[in-house]
């Protein structure tokens, strides 16, 4: 460039027609809008609009004359609906057991893989992570066979050990346990990878200082690792909670919500109302209750982590 232009502007006449002649029809001011245009349009049409529409639908019901506003009727019906409570209860029971168990296992595995003397780390990491990339439907199908009451491998192994067979998919309690097992199987490695990254970010000198002071490994774990890792554990807890509250694919393929309603989760109930009974208004009201529960639980988790720090 032999004519240095004070403002490096593509439409600057000083640079125009010089050296490379490029058709700079987009100015710096306008460029970001062009870059954002596809994302913004798609987002407005397929995400923002449905969010608003769903909210409106939740105050409507379908009659012979079409949709009519019924105020809070859908929400009132929800609070009197025994099946709604049951599916909410199922979801919360699964949540309360599944998320802590999974995070505990993930924390143990991450800590083992983070210690210096373990070899074949790559192999272990890949193995533990593998379930997270498989399709839920395919995974559920495998477990359908593994957990089969009469012919499943799990009950066969139990019988060798001299134990009674369990109705993993046909017993109300067994089916809930199965869902917890399958969900834990799928997501432990995923959480482990997140926690492992968090562990590797903890400054080494903290441990060195603690060792010099004579703190034991266990002591170091509780007074250095856990506090340092808290934000990452919180992140894992929040995404796992959201994931479990939205549990759908596994119960749909494994148990179809049964036996009776033992594994009907809240999102399965939403699906039933929307796409089996075609009650879109009621389904939308359920959806917004799920949104509310997720918001409240996330808030509680953030508050809890904030207070403890």
């Amino acid at each position: 460039m032999n004519t240095p232009s004070p403002v490096p502007h593509p439409e600057n006449p000083a640079t125009q027609g010089k050296t490379k002649k490029r058709n700079n029809f987009v100015s710096i001011q306008r460029a970001p809008y062009f870059f954002l245009f596809p994302a913004a349009v798609l987002f407005l049409l397929f995400t923002a609009y449905p969010i608003v529409h769903s909210f409106i639908l939740s105050f409507q019901t379908t009659t012979e004359e079409g949709r009519v506003f019924v105020g809070l009727d859908n929400y009132i019906r929800l609070f009197q609906d025994r099946l709604f409570y049951e599916s909410l209860g199922n979801t919360l029971i699964i949540l309360v057991f599944q998320v802590p168990i999974m995070l505990f296992l993930a924390l143990i595995l991450a800590n083992i893989l983070n210690s210096g003397f373990i070899r074949f780390k790559g192999f272990f990491r890949v193995s533990f992570f593998a379930p997270a990339v498989t399709s839920l439907v395919a995974a559920s199908i495998i477990f359908l066979l593994l957990l089969h009451q009469d012919y499943g491998l799990v009950n066969y192994l139990l019988s060798i050990a001299g134990l009674n067979s369990v109705g993993w998919l046909n017993d109300p309690l067994g089916a809930k346990i199965s869902l917890i097992l399958v969900t834990t199987w799928r997501w432990t490695g995923y959480n482990m990878v997140i926690l492992l990254a968090g562990l590797q970010n903890i400054p080494k000198h903290l441990y060195e200082a603690a060792s010099i002071d004579g703190a034991s490994k266990v002591r170091q774990f509780f007074s250095i690792t856990i506090p340092q890792l808290k934000p990452v554990i919180l992140f894992a807890a929040v995404i796992s909670t959201i994931g479990t509250l939205q549990l759908f694919d596994e119960p749909y393929t494994l148990t179809n919500g049964g036996p009776i309603h033992a594994t009907t989760t809240i999102t399965m109930y939403l699906y039933r109302n929307g796409f089996e009974y075609f009650d879109f208004g009621y389904g939308s009201a359920i959806a917004y209750v799920v949104v509310l529960i997720i918001a409240v639980l996330s808030l509680i988790q953030f508050k809890w982590a904030g207070v403890e720090r």
Binding site: F124, I142, L144
Partner: protein, 274 residues
């Protein structure tokens, strides 16, 4: 020193048990896919892979058009990933490298929408696509999540590390904004773009609830929908079912084994801030 040997052994045993529990079911899937249904359901069950693969494949073909579903899934996933990566890279680049009016509001809107569970959108999206007359088509599956907020977020985080001096230098040389994005932005961000691509690919390949709702005719089914239909039949042939599961898992596994570094990078960049 004795202590540490015992300690190491215990840790390796825990890890080995973990491997058996996580990888074991996949082994069982292969056993099921290569044996007749009866062999897998026998007591005691057959624990090693057999030679019944081709027969199971024939039975599978007879029950569902699995190749058609495979091709549906492949076409949808590849098209989706390509477009979604381009769209989120462009949006991420705009958020990371430009100052403009409405930037904060738009970015917050994307972030907030990540907290809304997907199920809340299924019903209105169904209505929308039925109004547009696009139900039961590839576009019904590709369009809704093309602007994927999490991908845009990841792209923005990564694009921030493109040096401004590089962009300025290109502008001084007379390069246009699009040219800079395609020739500097994208090439310098290839690792992040790979990570986001894999994330989106896996997400779409395994996508279930929306295709289940939006696809009506059998020849449009994606693999997960076809498999779920097969699993819901009254009499289940486990041989073909396990083979179907294998077919749907295999592409992702191959991708995962070669690109696992990027799979993991994609997850971590959302969780751990440098």
């Amino acid at each position: 020193m004795r202590n540490s040997v015992i300690q190491k052994t215990i840790l390796y045993i825990i890890l080995a048990m973990g491997v058996i529990l996580t990888v074991g079911p996949f082994y069982w899937m292969i056993v099921g896919a290569t044996n007749p249904s009866g062999e897998t359901l026998r007591i005691p069950p057959r624990l090693i892979p057999g030679s019944y693969l081709m027969e199971n494949l024939n039975h599978l073909f007879a029950s569902v058009d699995i190749w058609r579903s495979f091709l549906n899934s492949a076409f949808i996933t590849i098209t989706y990933t390509f477009l979604a990566v381009l769209i989120s890279a462009a949006a991420g680049y705009a958020f990371a490298k430009y100052q403009f009016r409405g930037k904060e509001i738009l970015f917050s809107a994307f972030l907030i929408s990540m907290m809304i569970p997907y199920q809340a959108l299924v019903i209105p999206q169904f209505e929308l696509f039925s109004t547009l007359g696009l139900l039961d088509s590839y576009s019904a599956i590709i369009l809704p999540q093309l602007a994927y907020p999490f991908a845009i977020f990841l792209m923005r985080q990564n694009m921030q590390s493109i040096p401004d001096s590089l962009i300025e230098a290109a502008r001084v040389d007379g390069a246009g904004e699009f040219f800079i994005f395609f020739r500097i932005g994208i090439p310098t961000m290839l690792p992040a773009i790979t990570a986001v691509s894999i994330f989106l690919f896996t997400h779409q390949w395994n996508n279930f609830l929306w295709p289940l709702v939006a696809l009506i005719s059998e020849e449009q089914y994606t693999l997960p929908v076809a498999l779920a239909t097969l699993a819901g039949q009254r009499s289940i042939d486990y041989g073909q079912l396990m083979l179907g599961a294998s077919i749907s898992i295999l592409p992702i596994f191959i991708l995962f084994l070669f690109l696992q570094r990027y799979f993991i990078a994609g997850i971590i960049s959302g969780a751990v801030k440098e």
